[in-house]
Point group: C2
Chain length 262, copies 2
């Protein structure tokens, strides 16, 4: 890191009505945005910043905490404060559920992981029969009992997604869909073999801050939201055959879609 004297960070504006800790956060943010501090770079130490700006340790800590809240930096205990990586690890393409992938025996997650040259894993798999929430029941056309498949996805060892698939029990019971390993091509390939040829998927996307449980499950850094995606799969007869309720680490994803103009 170049010395602070080189003009990496500016001076405070004593005539501004913007609080000093915010001015310092603004300058650090701008330096990150402009690439003066790159991903993985260590920010100047508290001591260096105190000296540079002539302010108290508490002021510097407030500034850093603003940037942490925005997800721009992460503090590593005893090592310092680092610029967080910003590019997504995965990009969800709009053809990710194309039949050709299923026919090659690949799941959507594998296809995407391969696209970024990453190693994908699934853990914490739990498959069980249960009574669905009102929302899930409605999406599944009034199903009273469902098969629920819960699992977590990891990319290169990092948890990036937690997903629960719900299927009407009359459809999934005593099939390979109820097994921990549903076989090549995943549950969509099995649904098609069972005569439910898939027609399209509806996806609904929203974003919010995670709960403490979700922070733990996805090992989220401070200031990182989650993307909540609910997908419903329809067969060619218009029947909803699966609802997948997914929570994604927002710093790990860009979702891509194509919309018709006609």
């Amino acid at each position: 890191m170049p010395p602070l004297s080189s003009g990496l960070l500016g001076a405070l504006d004593s005539t501004s009505d913007r609080a000093v800790f915010r001015q310092i956060a603004d300058q650090l943010r701008e330096a990150i945005d402009k690439g003066r501090f790159a991903e993985g770079d260590k920010l100047p130490s508290e001591t260096e910043l105190i000296e540079h700006y002539g302010v108290s340790r508490m002021t510097i800590r407030n500034s850093i905490s603003v940037l942490q809240g925005e997800g721009l930096v992460a503090s590593e205990h005893g090592k310092g404060v680092f610029v967080r990586p910003r590019p997504p690890v995965r990009r969800l393409a709009s053809d990710r559920f194309a039949r050709r992938h299923r026919e090659q025996g690949k799941s959507a997650f594998t296809v995407e992981a391969e696209a970024v040259g990453g190693h994908s894993e699934v853990d914490s798999l739990v498959v069980r029969e249960e009574k669905p929430s009102q929302d899930i029941a409605t999406r599944l056309g009034g199903a009273r009992k469902v098969l629920a498949r819960r699992r977590r996805y990891l990319l290169d060892g990092r948890p990036v997604e937690f997903a629960v698939s719900y299927l009407p029990l009359d459809l999934a019971r005593n099939t390979q869909i109820a097994e921990p390993n549903p076989g090549p091509g995943g549950i969509y390939a099995r649904l098609e073999e069972l005569g439910h040829r898939l027609d399209h998927f509806d996806e609904e996307i929203s974003a919010r801050m995670p709960t403490p449980e979700e922070i733990k499950t996805l090992r989220l850094a401070s200031g990182v939201p989650v993307i909540h995606l609910i997908r419903t799969a329809y067969d060619t007869e218009g029947r909803p055959v699966e609802v997948c309720d997914t929570l994604m680490a927002a710093d790990a994803y860009v979702l891509a879609y194509q919309l018709p103009a006609t």
Copy 2:
């Protein structure tokens, strides 16, 4: 609000290794999730919570601040802490750029606002020629100069979205697209009249915490992320004719898409 004695909130677990302020936040969150406190409801006052749990004011404030950070509650100065509204005000449908809307002279924003029975407005409109960022230039197939249309969208007086449309200057200069009011059906209708029949739109979606400027522009409550959507419009010859860079208040939107299964 029913009195606290009615079992609305439970007791603390003194054997738990979970910090007391987190236990209290957990109980309040659960009560909100289960609808015991509904949208717009006032939470019990600090004094009531202090009495109920037998803890200090600081502990209660820490608990409330956890929930604020998650976007679940908002503090109104001097009035108390309220459960924030959670349903989205707008749902972006996958047919929002269908030609039939343009032909009726409606913009996508108007169509969506009408769908939720809301009143839509646009303000802060600035139209100017500029040099695009590297990213925008690349998305527009290497455009060196662009026409940029910046504007903010409000729904029922609340800012929900800030958007910038970039168009190659050779295409937009001296057309109605360069006017503050581009006319019925918006710039997409004008592009089609100029011979650029639209074929499809690509959209990329990510989510992150807002910067202080963005918080101001969209008047965001604490703990509310932004959805970042970049849309590229292509004409039937495959030329990118517009990039729209949009920032949306995440508590105001659900985005809906349809994916093919084939």
